[in-house]
Subunit: 152 residues, 2 copies
Amino acid sequence: MANNFDEDGVGSLSVWAKRCYLAGRALMEDALRPHGLGTTQYYVLHRLATAGPTMQRDFARLLQVERATMSIVIAALVKKGLVEQIPDAVDQRQKLLRLTAAGAILWKELPDLGFIRDAAFGGLSETDIQTAARVLRTATERLQRRLKGDMP
Amino acid sequence: MANNFDEDGVGSLSVWAKRCYLAGRALMEDALRPHGLGTTQYYVLHRLATAGPTMQRDFARLLQVERATMSIVIAALVKKGLVEQIPDAVDQRQKLLRLTAAGAILWKELPDLGFIRDAAFGGLSETDIQTAARVLRTATERLQRRLKGDMP
DNA sequence: ACAACCTTGTTAGATAGCAAACAATATGTC
DNA sequence: GACATATTGTTTGCTATCTAACAAGGTTGT
């Protein structure tokens, strides 16, 4: 993805997908670093602050990451005292996540990250953006189909 | 990037850029895992096998990663005995990287990864792909400009 | 010559991602 | 009821990435 021995045609699209993702994430991290948060931690707080308490199980689907990854992100938030993990009354396996008071206070202090999207895509042709999104979505779905044992 | 509370327009493009990158990387990792390599390690071997010995310094530029990241990737390859790090005769700071015999043998055994690109983008409209690449490149360059202290 | 600066590489500590294996808990089926 | 299976979360160990701080080696300016 990130080599430069294939910089044209189809090759460069994968390269730019990677670089675009990493550059956007780096800007997010710069904005969040003063608050001691990472990007995925931010998404978790966002969800809890705007949609209320949520099962940990559901975050894997929502954020499209593995259970193991969620475990680690949540553990970091719990260690910082921003999120509580409450075992469900009827199914002890599941854990409900909820903002703590400290988490709610921190959430209010966080900057608006919309400027990143504006910086990246503001002013570009809407149809070009939609074409790009469609191409990447198609490619992603094909790759994911192949990942999920769709192969001989 | 990976939330699902902003799934349309400009928002979804960043989401799909991330997912496309990660899905492609996951397929690469599946193909390389039997050989005990990671994706960036593969790119380093590719360069050394096809372009010959290369200064470690230059890899940061070629692969667009930080010196610190290269240090870690190279250290892994050296530990596996696939790459040698040779201090330059005239400038002791710089290190030349070279495939070992074992590295050259392993390289020949590695599978061709072109199928991933074909799986992702094969058959899609060439102009759509170029539009997508142009949009992502523009966005990336804007983000990188802002990252490099181009801000008020 | 010497001090100030620049370049290169490494280390430490952090986030984020995965797979594989494990533990605990539900939910089947017989 | 008991054993097999599925779900949920954690742990371990790996890759990849970053920043920040450091060490060591060149370069430059006076």
